[in-house]
Amino acid sequence: MVDPRLSVIKKRLKDINNIIAVASGKGGVGKSMVSSLLALHLASQDKKVGLLDLDVYGPSTHIILGIPFQKFPEEDRGIIPPVFHGIKFMSIVFYSEDKPGAFRGIDVSNIIRELLAITQWGSLDYLIIDLPPGIGDETLDVINLIQPTEFLIVSTPSKVAMGAVEKLIDLLLELHLPIIGVVENMKIGDSNYVKQIVTSKDVRYLGSIQFVPALEEAIGDSSKLLKTPFIKDLERIIKKSL
């Protein structure tokens, strides 16, 4: 038995200039916020951008960007990712009606392979991939199936978060995979802890994004999101790293 999807995935991604996976060893650090606003910002700069939500248990980017999911995407020799706020968007949520699924590891892998095999991204400057936390099936499939992917790593100032983030960094370094750098999100206080650890590994520390108490009020509204201090900080990071 041969899995035919694997050979066509390369073809589907061949006209994409940059593939960026937003990842972290730790959950809840702001990966989905960073991926969504990164996509939104790049689209607002007239870049051709795609956003792929690979968090199959808790897809979030459609909530952050206020994307309706009630309609199946169009079909034309595959699936055409619908465009919202200038972003070509693909997520399991179009098919799950935002209901839960009891997926085992093999099922997660199957979902990712299927989505990658049937989605027709066309030509893009950037494809942003929102990953769930950790080094599970989603991260491993991205590593194995999508080459070359560059990793944008998100942490918070917490030592607890960094404990898990360091493991992801170490694994990526061991595999010689490209790391764009580490973003320190929800920065409060002025500790140098994250910067120190990251630079000691010869990985770029890209800067911090402040904790924005009013961020919640902008969720679901792309024009409000583009006006938050979050995006200002993110822009600074993008300027020096992308």
């Binding site: 399991i92 839960p100 699924g101 009891a102």
Partner: protein, 133 residues
């Protein structure tokens, strides 16, 4: 029709395998269609033919077999078959696009568990590629 994307994956893989195995010519591709994915065989065959023509590949025999879907509950071990009429149209279509949506839209008919395994008949696979060495 997203069948086209899957058909393309079959032909791309067959060509790759033929190169790897140093086949001079592909003579036959055997394909298994898992029932869960509800592929329209006519559309699928048409797509395969079109893609083969566009790649200038001729005289390849395509053998398609359907495999019934079988599920097993991870909680009570009950096994059952795919019953499409128990799903509404949108649910069946979601499973057609992404067979794992079975875990969203189906439950074990015996104990109601959402935790089950697709033992057989998930989707499209290649069972054999025959050719001239």
């Amino acid at each position: 029709m997203h069948e086209w994307a899957l058909a393309e994956s079959i032909i791309t893989t067959a060509v790759e395998v033929a190169e790897r195995e140093k086949l001079k010519k592909i003579e036959e591709i055997d394909i298994s269609l898992g029932e869960l994915q509800q592929i329209e065989e006519d559309i699928f065959r048409f797509a395969l033919d079109e893609i083969l023509k566009s790649m200038n590949l001729r005289n390849i025999k395509i053998v398609i077999e359907t495999e019934n879907a079988v599920f097993e509950c991870n909680k009570c071990k009950h096994t059952w078959n795919f019953e499409k009429d128990k799903l509404d149209e949108a649910e069946a279509e979601a499973i057609h696009f992404l067979p794992e949506m079975a875990f969203v839209h189906m439950r074990c008919p015996s104990c109601g568990s959402p935790d089950f395994t697709v033992i057989k008949g998930r989707g499209v696979s290649i069972t054999s590629i025959k050719g001239e060495k």
